[in-house]
Every structure is written in structure tokens, then in C-alpha cells.
């Protein structure tokens, strides 16, 4: 089982490394979104500072839909989904592996974006530990929910539009929770960021379980 998780995750990451879609397209896209938010709000510096954490996580939500779409299309373009079933890889392992690969890519983008908000928005990091913890915990939940919904729309026409319709409302608690935790870490609002990490962990855990239980059913259906 763990062997297959590593196998699938390694395969997805290697494909990503070869094609460099994340680095050549997604990271620039995320940077562009940050810059555009900057244009829209820069007339008012305090507003920008106040909104930094929210903008950061909204950008990550956009990036997530791209990463998930890419992760799904790897398996659907040439019938690899079917071959995975024939090979007898446990669907749970496919789910965990693909979610792990998405998580690694998102973490890489988050790393770049943290640099972005420090440079572009003048954010000051009060608690570095809290930033890291938020990114790690939130990303697990995002990747789990994203991978599950990605497989769900894989057999659907017009999946490019259906995916965000489903994914973004599901991710609403992550947007709220991670934004609050960042508010604390950047010192922009006085809240207890660590309490929010607990909520994010709950979200991650629940969606991991949900994905592990239903991924196999989805793989069989298409």
C-alpha cells in the first residue's frame, strides 16, 4: 500500500518535473494574480496590508483548480485510469499518491507566494512557525478535497467549469481558517491562529477519509 502511494506520487511529481507546468505556468499565474490585486488595492496601503492573508489564500484556491485539473488529466488523456485498475493498484493508494503530489506542488507555490507578499505587499512575518504550520495543514485538506473532486469530474463533460463550482465552496472553510491563521502570523489581526489550525486539521482529516472511502468507487465508474 505505502509502496504504491510512493510510486504514484513519485510518478506524478516526475511528470510535473519533466513538463514543468507548475513552474512555467502556475507560479507566474499566481504571481500575476498577486500583482493584479496589488494594482486594484494599492491606492490604499492599509487596505492592502489588511487584506494580504485573504489575497494569499484566494490565489492558492485559483492555483488549486489548475493543479487539480492537471493532476486529473494525467490519468485521463491516454486511458491510464483503466490501466491503473488493471495493474491492481489499490484505489486508496492512487488517491493518497495523487493528493501527496498535488500537496507538494501547492507547497512549492506557497513558498514562492510567501516571498511575494513580503516583497510586494510589505507583509511582516511575526510567527514564522505559524506560517509554516498553516501552509502544511491547510494544504493537506486542499489536496485531499481537490484530488477527490478531480476524480469525480474526470468523466464529466465540461469538467473545467464543473470543478471550480464544486471545489471552491467545499474549500470555503480552508479559505476562512487559513486566512485567519495568517492574520495572526502576520500580526495584522489579533486572533488565535493556532485554534484555526485545529479546524484546518479537522477539515483535512475528514476529507482524507472521505477521499479514501470513495475514490475507488469513482475510479470504477468511468
Amino acid at each position: 500500500m505505502w509502496r504504491d502511494v510512493v510510486l504514484v506520487a513519485g510518478k506524478d511529481l516526475r511528470i510535473e518535473w519533466r513538463s514543468r507546468v507548475t513552474f512555467s505556468q502556475v507560479v507566474p499565474f499566481a504571481g500575476l494574480v498577486l500583482v493584479l490585486f496589488g494594482f486594484a488595492l494599492d491606492a490604499n496601503r492599509p487596505v492592502l496590508e489588511r487584506a494580504t492573508s485573504g489575497l494569499f489564500w484566494i490565489t492558492i484556491m485559483f492555483v488549486t483548480t489548475l493543479a487539480v485539473q492537471r493532476s486529473t488529466s494525467i490519468e485521463t488523456t491516454d486511458g491510464a485510469r483503466r490501466a491503473l485498475l488493471l495493474a491492481g493498484v489499490e484505489p486508496v493508494a492512487v488517491f493518497a499518491g495523487k493528493a501527496a503530489a498535488v500537496a507538494v506542488q501547492l507547497l512549492a507555490v506557497e513558498l514562492v507566494l510567501v516571498g511575494g507578499i513580503v516583497v510586494l505587499y510589505g507583509a511582516e512575518i511575526d510567527s514564522f512557525l505559524l506560517v509554516v504550520a498553516t501552509c502544511l495543514v491547510a494544504t493537506v485538506g486542499i489536496a485531499a478535497a481537490g484530488t477527490l473532486l478531480g476524480a469525480l469530474v474526470a468523466g464529466v463533460r465540461a469538467r473545467e467549469t464543473v470543478l471550480p463550482i464544486l471545489l471552491l465552496p467545499v474549500l470555503a472553510p480552508v479559505l476562512i481558517g487559513a486566512t485567519r491563521a495568517f492574520d495572526d502570523a502576520l500580526g495584522s489581526v489579533a486572533v488565535d491562529g493556532w485554534a484555526w489550525i485545529g479546524m484546518l486539521a479537522g477539515f483535512g482529516l475528514i476529507n482524507l477519509v472521505l477521499g479514501a472511502l470513495s475514490y475507488g468507487v469513482l475510479l470504477e465508474e468511468t
Binding site: D4, L7, K11, R14, I15, R18, S19, I74, T77, D78, G79, A80, R82, A83, L84, L85, L86, A87, G88, V89
Partner: protein
């Protein structure tokens, strides 16, 4: 023991009855040619035998495993070459084969030999699959089937897009597999070629079997 035993199999694609009641019994070591017009149901029949297709009614046993209730056992023992080649565009030929060998839990060292047998040149092995020609891609996909050492080979148009040398290679592979005790089911339009290869000709039309001749 019959390798494939289908009894009144009806299979739907969406709402379309791709198979409208198929009875078929194939024994070990047979090379069966499925012929028939496009849309006759040949590919669906192969998918049923691979345990990848839901069955609306009837019963299908492959290697004495039920393709619905015991599909994991069926899938493990078949090798399917479909219309899709199931290769990852951005990985090299060798990386693809190694991945599928590991995923199928078969000997990864068999990859080299399989590529040799399919005539995939050494210089191509580190090339991303994206850059292969259709024929080379098909050979690579077939190598992935060879690596699995399946007891039942399910080949959908294996000759399509291959040059003369490639076609001869496939014929050789099929004969070898049958000699070694495996069973081969192949759907093909290349009747002149496969007539001699197959030991049995099954004609599929309208989702049913209309003719079944053993040579």
C-alpha cells in the same frame, strides 16, 4: 478448463446495448480472431473479458473468476492493449514501463527484454513518449503487456499503425504466447494477416456473435 466463458452477456455503453447477448467459450492456448464491422461490439467484448465493463445481464467468467464479483483476480491475469496506449506523455519509454511493471508487481528487470522483443531501439528508451511515432508508441504499449506475462491476452487492433516489421513481430509474439499456454483474443480488421494466425474466427455483428469457425 475454459479461459473465457460468456453466457448471454448484455453490456450497455450509456444507454446503448453494445453487447446484446453474447455466448462464447474459449479454451486454453487458443488464438481467437474477432472480426466484424466498426461498432459491432468487439472492443466492449474485450473490456468485459478484462473485468473493466459492467454487465447488465448474463454471466462472464474469465479464468474461472467472475468478471464482476471477482474482478481484481481477472484484471491481474489479463493483458489488454486497447485503443488508448495508457502511457504518460512526459515520461520516457523506460520510465513508463518501469512504472507499470512496479504497479503490476511484476519483475522490473523484464522491461529491457520486453522492449528488445518489441524492437524498440535503445536510443528511444530515454525519449519522452510524447515524441514517439504512433507505431513506436504502440510497440511500447505492447511491451507493457508483455512485461505482465498475462495468461489471457486481449489485443484490440494490434496491427494498426505498425509497419511490416512491427506486424511480423506481433504475429511472432502472439504465436509464442499461445505456445507457452496463454490464450489470445484479438480484434482485427487485417483479415488477410490474422486469418492465418488465428485458430478460430469469430464474427461479431450487432452486439452478437453471428459466426464461429474453428480452423
Amino acid at each position: 478448463m475454459s479461459i473465457i466463458a460468456l453466457d448471454g452477456v448484455v453490456a450497455l455503453l450509456g444507454r446503448f446495448p453494445a453487447l446484446a447477448g453474447v455466448d462464447l467459450d474459449v479454451g486454453a492456448g487458443e488464438i481467437v480472431l474477432l472480426q466484424g464491422p466498426n461498432g459491432a461490439g468487439k472492443s466492449t467484448l474485450l473490456r468485459v473479458c478484462a473485468g473493466l465493463q459492467r454487465i447488465e445481464s448474463g454471466r462472464a467468467l474469465v479464468l474461472e473468476h467472475d468478471v464482476v464479483s471477482d474482478r481484481a483476480a481477472v484484471r491481474r491475469s489479463v493483458g489488454l492493449l486497447g485503443h488508448d496506449t495508457a502511457l504518460y506523455d512526459d515520461l520516457s519509454v523506460e520510465e513508463n514501463l518501469r512504472f507499470w511493471a512496479r504497479a503490476s508487481r511484476v519483475d522490473v528487470d523484464a522491461v529491457d527484454g520486453a522492449l528488445d522483443r518489441l524492437g524498440v531501439a535503445d536510443r528511444l528508451r530515454d525519449v519522452p513518449v510524447r515524441h514517439l511515432s504512433a507505431g513506436q508508441r504502440r510497440r511500447t504499449a505492447l511491451a507493457a503487456v508483455v512485461v505482465r506475462r498475462p495468461r489471457l491476452w486481449l489485443l484490440d487492433e494490434p496491427h494498426a499503425g505498425l509497419d511490416q516489421q512491427g506486424r511480423d513481430l506481433i504475429d511472432g509474439l502472439v504465436r509464442q504466447a499461445a505456445t507457452a499456454g496463454a490464450t489470445v483474443l484479438l480484434a482485427s480488421h487485417e483479415l488477410d494477416r490474422t486469418m492465418g494466425l488465428a485458430s478460430r474466427h469469430v464474427t461479431v455483428a450487432g452486439g452478437t456473435i453471428t459466426e464461429d469457425r474453428t480452423i
